[in-house]
Symmetry: D2
Subunit: 421 residues, 4 copies
């Protein structure tokens, strides 16, 4: 494979091409094909962007039809039939069955843009500046969002400028068993000299993705909602990675029976890997004046076409939900077996996750890298996450076939055993 120009011309910031240094040319379902014809099973799936797999035929068809029909690809935030259809579908397929009532803000088509819009709206709506996020949380890297992202890798690359307007609280379980991290949050809130400015909002992933596949307890989330209500703090669920069915429900917060004030979505929202994002907000929070937040690619037409098609195709009934939950258990079982085997080898390991967002914690980033590298050699793309990169994570397409899923898991099993035998 010819990679010289790629290595020479692309900035050193490139990262995934370091872990998987081949040139990919085709992608279909849960499989990527490299230029040399080798196929890889994809347990990364665009870091949660390809919940319905690569190039899903139904979505592709909708997209090609739209193109062939000269639909509006780019129209800023003008009205199009594609937007209308998307909003109608969102209301009918998603909101109504769940009893939700949100307005939709279409900012620039990236997650960080949605987060910037969400926290700015929370500030405008409350008149307060502080946004509470959580240890190991990731919400984007533009300067506004970065104030809520825990990773030093990004925080130390600002050229010395500190982020502003954010404060971090310990996530569920962060302080160890038996320590109630929400009790700490509540104490700070109720204490007039705690140093915690009364927050405009809390922003949280119900299952932390980049942070290491850390699921917050459902009771803990419910209590967090209660605390927010009591102190008049807005609750923002960042469902960019955990949403769109990844955890076994369309919105990850459905498991906890909570109703966020604001929701951010992106990644799998278009269903096809197209850049797309939105912010959902309780109607009375829509304090925006016309044009106060903009972006050239807001309301990307093609993404609304595939997004609507994906909602209709996968969310009109509970088939996918149940399938995700079933496959999630399959992955969990295999991860638990691997964790047990590793622990037997002296590598303290454990499994965690929700739905098909699952992690195998192998203690150190070095351990995880060994497994990931072995897996790639054997034809499986699987990445690591967590503060030390110590968690091997499965974000395979929700629509993966049982055959591919099992083959992938078998490869992971063999890779782990090869790495540590």
């Amino acid at each position: 494979m010819q990679t010289e120009i790629l290595e020479r011309m692309e900035s050193d910031v490139r990262t995934y091409s370091r872990s998987f240094p081949v040139v990919f040319t085709k992608a279909k379902g849960a499989r990527l094909t490299a230029e040399d014809g080798r196929e890889y099973i994809d347990f990364l799936a665009g870091a949660g962007t390809l919940n319905y797999g690569h190039n899903h035929p139904d979505l592709k068809q909708a997209l090609v039809d739209y193109l062939m029909d000269d639909g509006v690809v780019h129209g800023l935030d003008m009205w199009t039939d594609a937007k209308r259809d998307y909003l109608e579908t969102l209301e009918e397929v998603i909101f109504k069955p769940r009893g939700l009532n949100y307005k939709v803000h279409l900012p620039g088509p990236t997650g960080t843009n949605a987060v910037e819009a969400a926290i700015r709206l929370a500030r405008v709506a409350t008149g307060r500046h502080n946004i509470v996020s959580f240890t190991n949380g990731f919400h984007g890297v533009t300067m506004g969002a970065l104030a809520t992202t825990g990773n030093r890798k990004f925080r130390e690359a600002t050229g010395g400028i500190p982020t502003q307007g954010g404060a971090f609280m310990p996530f569920d379980g962060y302080m160890g068993d038996g320590i109630d991290t929400l009790a700490y949050f509540e104490k700070l809130l109720g204490d007039n000299s705690s140093g915690l400015d009364l927050p405009a909002a809390v922003i949280i992933e119900t299952v932390q993705g980049e942070g290491g596949i850390n699921p917050a307890g459902l009771d803990w989330l419910k209590r967090l909602e209660t605390i927010c209500r009591r102190h008049d703090i807005l609750l923002i669920i960042d469902d960019i990675q955990a949403g769109c069915g990844r955890t076994g429900k369309f919105f990850s917060f459905e498991h906890a029976d909570i109703t966020p004030d604001i929701v951010t979505n992106s990644k799998s929202l278009s269903g096809f890997g197209l850049p797309f994002a939105h912010v959902l907000m309780r109607p009375e929070l829509d304090k925006w004046k016309p044009g106060q937040y903009n972006g050239t690619f807001r309301g990307f037409g093609m993404a609304m076409v595939t997004g609507a098609a994906a909602l209709k195709r996968f969310w009109s009934d509970d088939t996918l939900e149940r399938d995700v939950q079933r496959k999630g258990r399959v992955v969990a079982d295999r991860f638990q077996q691997l964790a047990a085997w590793l622990t037997d080898q002296g590598i303290e390991s454990s499994e965690r996750g929700r739905g098909l967002m699952r992690g195998l914690d192998v203690g150190t980033g070095d351990n995880a890298d060994k497994i990931s590298e072995e897996a790639f050699k054997r034809g499986l793309i699987i990445e690591t996450s967590g503060h030390d990169g110590h968690v091997v994570k499965c974000l395979c397409p929700l629509t993966i076939s049982d055959e591919d899923l099992l083959e992938g898991l078998d490869i992971l099993d063999a890779s782990t055993k090869a790495a540590f035998s």
Copy 2:
């Protein structure tokens, strides 16, 4: 047209659908078609995103081929043949003939993301925090970019948080005839108690878009480059709106014979309205460590396909350049005639711009709105810009046919006369 759900569900932040309150269903070349079948000539063109028109057949074909072939739509920043082809084309078609040598950073696919990356890189590379931008400049609305964007509409919607790390200088001509705005900048630079922190970088649009189609003088730009070199300040040209041929050269800064340290591109970069952005940097400025700046949709596969196709199709020779310059003169002439007519009616008006980025300054936003509204009634989509919205701007596709161009200009002429007779 059914618009109830659009008005009910979309956030009040929506803006273009207020100026053009119809539902668009088709787009081709320089024309948009509404649901009721009415066609509109498009002098807005995605605010400079559709330099090659809507759904250009060659680009569409490349895109559909890629899709039908199950190319990699979304692959984070992994290597693909689409990326390789894009980089090769960029080097062969654009860099080499211009004697340029840049590395390419593919951040999230929006302009503001590219600006955030560019200014962060400048800070890391210089160890300084201050980014100088200019009055009436627009460089995006995420918090980092917002520090360089002049518009109060956005700056006052942060919920009270001031931006940090930016300082504004007067743009060319801002202080009136005979006042050298760069002399002021130089004085501040050379003065140890001026209050101007020694900048990491200057970021500038060579022709300000949102600010009112304000072209900086070519000598002024050259002097700005000289000042930056003398003080070891990086020069960032934000070519997001003015680039990709809009001014009659691929890069807008070619006119001034300057070589920026860093360039930001987006909008028309994909050639098809697809979200795409990159940062170009002198190789020695590539101080990024792997993964220090990320984004889910970086290196969007489809955009690289159409982007490469557009470069090959339009930039392998100087046909388009010369055509843009010719059409630019046509628009300029008609705008000058309109300005003269308006001035005769007592409305002091003037024309300005470069290439096909042209403005008709009619003094007030109210005047400009009247013209724009009349034009829409007559089948022309044309927008306003400037600090008071007082500049009617032409950003028509560069590839517009002479017929459409003249029809559009005729409508504008009739609309202006209807508005002020």
Copy 3:
């Protein structure tokens, strides 16, 4: 007493004159005299500024002699014999016996100025921006220091600007018995995505004053020093209120056998209530360039005269130290008795402190105010502190006579019983 002009002309920001609404005209030792001739025992003592009482005759004599001799009252930071004598005395009387080696920075003569200088120096010396402070900590209200001060009263009076460059950790005991707050700090430090930027420094009061007379455990402080050393974080002890003998040692950190990298002093440093402050730093941390931090009243001549006299008078042997410890036990005993009595009345109360910095926690600010108001009626000036103002605090002069001390305690006893019987 004539108070009309005071109420009319002084800003509503005034506070102590609301608690003690009389006009004072004389002060001597532990007693203040109001205009009507009434004497009050002073358990507030300038909020810890008058450790040697009001108008101590020896210090007054030194001051009057200096004045009569036309000594240099104000000389910016020029050299004077007064400064030389102060520095010599500081070295001989304080540093040498304790094995300390510090350089002395004389910033503006207030605590907040010393804190601003200390944290700025820590940033310059380490190249990092983050300063960790603790819940209920108070380190001043100018914008730099405010980033380390927990009180919402001040933090919410910035006109909406968030402070920058600070993060709060839970103080010793903050999370309840059995929860190790330093374990949490260490976990955050060792976690690359915790959201805690690696700190330049930690700033802490060994006994929190405004925060409610909260003494950090001595082992806890020692461990904090160890953690700082391990992570190359500077340890700043803010000894503005707890220093100058208040806790029974000249420096409050002597109890814990730690050696801070930087120390801030003010309040009782002049010994006479004169504005004075300094920053002590390990010599290798003195990264200041000439004039990089200034202030008109730095190195206030008269304060150095009384400051040197106080060091010679009170710190040449351990008489005062032992006396403070003895009196501290007297206060502690009486506070414990009061706490027990209050608890018997159903008002859960407790005593805490170190040396003559002691608090009686009576649960709520209302309770504490009742006691303080009754005490004032009976001739005792005593204030409250803590996040809810729920701690009655004793900061009486260290030199108070046993008679005055006991009379003050008797009044407090009677006031408490009057308030809650």
Copy 4:
């Protein structure tokens, strides 16, 4: 002279002791005496702090009487007879004859503290964050005040943290003859995309001290007031250095017939070199809640005693005012002669100032240092200011005798000629 301990123990931040490396032991009127008995005429006078000279006998007597009478030296912000007398005197002697009506905030006793309080109040009162200051302005170095101070020396010593909430405008004359700097300010204010956030306040010195003795034109100041009123921006006059008679009126703004919304005072306010500061505000701007801004040494008793004595002694009639104006002309004449002589020698020089705040601009800091060094050798203490330290400045006591004044000017004359002959 023994200076080893001073050089060893004091931080490298020390500055004036580098220019005048002797140990001073006595001070009286306009003369300082070094340890070796040598007398120096003092044209620095505490950088404007000693307007009534060192150890003025009347003020000293008032102070010693207060001390001998055991007056309240330190009482936080409690009421004392000293405070009442100070406020009454301020009202009778200063406010009433000038038709002023201000409330008085007594913050910590330093200029920077007064500035922090003033700008915070402006933010709270307007709900806006931006404070406009001017090129070459100096308003203190704590982080809040630093946002309004132009000097890079301080701004670059923050450890990388940018200041926030400030913007700089060109001072009167900054852009050269014939360029109206207020026209630029007005244009930015009226332009919705200028990048200038609508300010809460403007803060300005009517004659810039540290910036190089730059007097703003009186018409220019009047127009600035008008612009502020028109845009509902508060006008803060920082009269810390230029106030207390320095320019020939008690308040420097009296010359321009303007009435600031807020005034900051310090330096010579106590009249004796004692730390003291206050903020004056229109009564309706007093938005402080009790205790929202504090400081241990606010309302320093001794300073109020000498401050009231100074007001009574010097401001009950216009004798001092007229005397300052007369002496100012004497200095101006001599400075103009020196400027002419220097210009003849090829060193382009000029004189400027107002009252006894006068500067001799000799082009470069090196030139100014040569003069200052020669003067010190000859027994005159005179300092430099300006962005390059290029202005020799006269801030001699207002009460200097004609003999001392002329002797000082003669030394300066001789020194200048020695330096450049």
